[in-house]
Each structure stands twice: as C-alpha cells, then as structure tokens.
Symmetry: C2
Subunit: 263 residues, 2 copies
C-alpha cells in the first residue's frame, strides 16, 4: 500500500499528481511479481479504478506495459528507466568492474549500496554462481537496521538522525537473532563507526552472514560495500580475517573515484 | 530528441500527457549521463522549459531526482522502476542463475535479450571481469540489424515484418564490416533461421564478435542468448565449435522454463 499523501499536490501548484500516480502504478508491479488487473493495481495503489485504468492505458500506449485481456504486465522498456539512473551514476558505473574483480578473487558475491528513504539500495553487484544463491540484484532494497551495509550507512549519521530513523521505522525481528531494541541498535551503530566495519550474523535471514565497510566521500559516508556468505561455509572469524582486508582495499579505491568524480 | 507525437494525446481522452512527459524527462538523463539543467532537459525532450521544470519539481518531491542549485541528477530510487520489470519477469529472473553458470564454465560474458521497439533489450547478463571489458549491462539497448541477438530475434519474424523493420530503420555502417544493404540483410536473416544461430563479426564494433541462439516459446522466438568475445582472443571457428553447443543447451533449458512459466 502506498503513502497516498505522497500522491497529493497538497496545495503545490507545480506538483504533477498524474505523474506521481503513474509511477505508483508502475511500482506496484514489483510488489506483486505477476500480471495484474485494474482492480488489483487499484487496491495496491489506493487509487480509484478509473484513475488506475488511465495510468495503465497510457503505459500501454507508451510501450511500458503489455495488455492481454484483463491482465497487464510490464514490458522490458521499463528497465530503460532504471538504466537511466545506472548510466548517469558515476559511482555505480565505476564500482562494477571493481566488484567483478573482488568476486573473482574471493569467489563470493559482493555489492555496493546507498541509503535512500530508510533503505539500502543495491546499485552495483557482482554475483557468484551457486546452487544456493542469494537472490539480490541491482535495484534490490533492504532495511537499514538489520543489514551490514545499512548499519555502516547509519553509522555515519548523527546520533539525532539515528534516533529519528529508529523512531519512524518499524523494527521487525526477521529472525530470532535480529536486534530490534533501539538502545542496543544505537550502541551497535557506535561500535560500527569506531571499528569501521559492520558484521551481521543471521539477523536478516537464517544462514546468511555479511560484512560491510563504508565508502567515504568528501562530506561523509556515501555508500557501503559488502560481501554476503552462507553461515554454513564461513565462520565469523573468517569473515573478519579473510574478507575485511580486501573490502577495505576496494573501499579505498572507490573513495578515490568518488573524490575525482565529475560533480 | 524524443518523438514528440508520442507525448501527445492525439485526441485520446484516456491518455495522460503529463505522465508521458515525465517519463520522457526521466529517460533523457540516460542519454546525457551527467547532471542536467532545466534548459538542457527541455532541449533534449522538446518540452517547454515550464513543462520540464514541473516534471523535475515533481520528481524531486517524489525522491526520484536530486537538485543542487541549477543541476538535477537522478537518485537511486529510479532503479526501483527498472527493478519492477525484472522482478515481475519470470524469464529474466530464471535466466540469471543459468547465465551465471555459463559464464563460470566458459569464462566469457553472456546475456539474454528480447526485442522491443526495434531494439535488443538486455534483460539478464552475467559478466566476466577483464581489463578490456564490454560495457553492456541489464537495461542496455542495441540495434537489431547488426547484433547477433538482434538477427536471431528478427529471424523468427515473417518476411513482411523483416522488410517493414528494414524500411523504418536507419541502417548505419557502425564499422567497415557492418552489413547495411537490405537485400543482403534479408538473406542473412534467412540463413540465421535455417542454421538456428547468428554470428556477428565486428559489425557492431571493431574487435567484438558474438554468437547468439534463439529461446523458443509456444508461439515462436521469445528471446535470444548470446556470448560476446574479443576478436583478438577467439576465432570465428572457435566461436562456433566451443560456444555454440553450450549456448544451445542453455536455450533448451530456458525453453522448458518459458513453457512452464505462470502466464
């Protein structure tokens, strides 16, 4: 369900309500992961059926959506929108070959994430092929409080920002290990800031461990790089001894790229 | 420059012009790959400056665009739009682990492409790390007539569709090897249909060779899988002898996935 207040102009004469509604309709396909009817999209977005129908009709005419009877599906042209960000983001473009190298060296999947709207966004990722793979990819989003990249990104914020984040966020125990007590989380963010890395042990999902380090920009932390592994194969000690040094190396290379990036 | 007729309702009362304009503004960032001013975005889209400003203002409020003075840049949230397609596309989701395996087996980059609006869209890709890498990724688009996946996708169309495509497409000699004579191209499409694969030798870019095979659906070719290599390392004969058999194997696996996919 979308935050309907975001789709309202709220008295702002320059705000294009119809554009906001259209984007909400497009995004609701990601949540459903299947063909949708006007009624389903209307329910998910909170928009009226006529408004939803007009959005879908416009997307069909523009080539973003395919219609088969009452069912609507997204077409590959939608990807061109996501690609617009990637090809305009210096950080994502430059990080990819470095992540590819790191994956080849360590034989583990590694990712670059940034913080947006209280989530980690995966903006680059190099994946190993395994039967038991981790289903994350560029464009995936995860909570900040229970992921290694999220904690690194939060660790660069002021105590007040961290507190505000914790107050407005629904802290869910995704596993029995998930830390959801605000006081403990604030202490953890401090610890991450002091150590310069975060390790999360099965707090997001049982069987999954990850380690992340910050990528520094001129005004603070701009991104995080991480490696995610299966707890059955890699111990906590190994995570630190084998993976922390190469992660720190790639973070240093990225810091140089960020500092020299075209504004 | 965008096709402005696409942004017009043309008498269609259900068409949302403002939604179409907003998407055009978003897409023009991909072409420029840098921060843009209102004037630049207005020039690229063909929209008036006030219309462009309203779109950018709305995107800023929705969190899709960042503003710093007169400069606008895309924010990672834009990726969520592209991700909506990927996570709703059974083919793209299922193909990724197969492509990852193929990359590990052959140590070459491989991709899955579909045909949309006279272009090949890369919907999944597994990349090797090399100093001299091929800068293609999920969301990239290339012409149909001079790429191996494009020729495979065209080979499944009727002669009449192929002719119409060639008439409406500007055929450009991207290298001295690029075939741009319509009669020769039609003969090539026939050859590809008969052989069941396409090889393109430095017609897209000097130094780049690729081989592609079709992925069949219940009603014809739905996608193509390819491997792209550096001409300096791999001969045409090797491309056929070493890479065609594994490509055909993955195409057969994808055919089964497509046939069993939820509608």
């Amino acid at each position: 369900m979308y935050n309907l207040t975001m789709l309202d102009a709220n008295g702002d004469p320059e705000f294009m309500t119809s554009l906001a509604r259209g984007l909400a309709v497009l995004c609701c396909f990601a949540d459903e992961q299947r063909p949708m009817t006007i009624a389903q999209a209307s329910r998910l977005t909170g928009l009226s059926r006529p408004a939803t129908r007009r959005c879908l009709h416009t997307f069909v005419r523009l080539g973003y959506v395919a219609q088969a009877g009452a069912n609507y599906t997204l077409r590959p042209k939608v990807m061109a929108l996501g690609y617009a960000y990637l090809s305009s983001s210096t950080l994502a473009m430059r990080a990819q070959p470095l992540l590819d190298q790191l994956r080849d060296e360590l034989h583990e999947s590694c990712s670059l994430g940034v913080s947006e709207e209280d989530e980690v966004y995966y903006v680059a990722r190099a994946e190993v092929s395994r039967i038991m793979s981790i289903s994350l990819r560029v464009g995936s989003r995860l909570p900040l409080y229970c992921t290694s990249m999220g904690r690194v990104l939060l660790s660069g914020q002021s105590k007040e920002s961290q507190r505000t984040y914790l107050r407005r966020t629904k802290l869910v125990a995704l596993t029995p290990h998930t830390q959801i007590e605000p006081g403990n989380l604030l202490a953890l963010f401090d610890h991450v800031a002091n150590e310069g890395y975060a390790i999360v042990d099965q707090e997001l999902e049982i069987g999954l461990r990850s380690i992340a380090v910050p990528v520094e920009g001129p005004d603070g932390i701009v991104a995080a790089v991480n490696i995610g592994v299966q707890a059955a194969r890699i111990t906590m000690a190994e995570l630190r001894s084998r993976y922390l040094p190469p992660l720190r190396k790639i973070a240093a290379e990225l810091r140089v790229l960020v500092a020299n990036a075209r504004p």
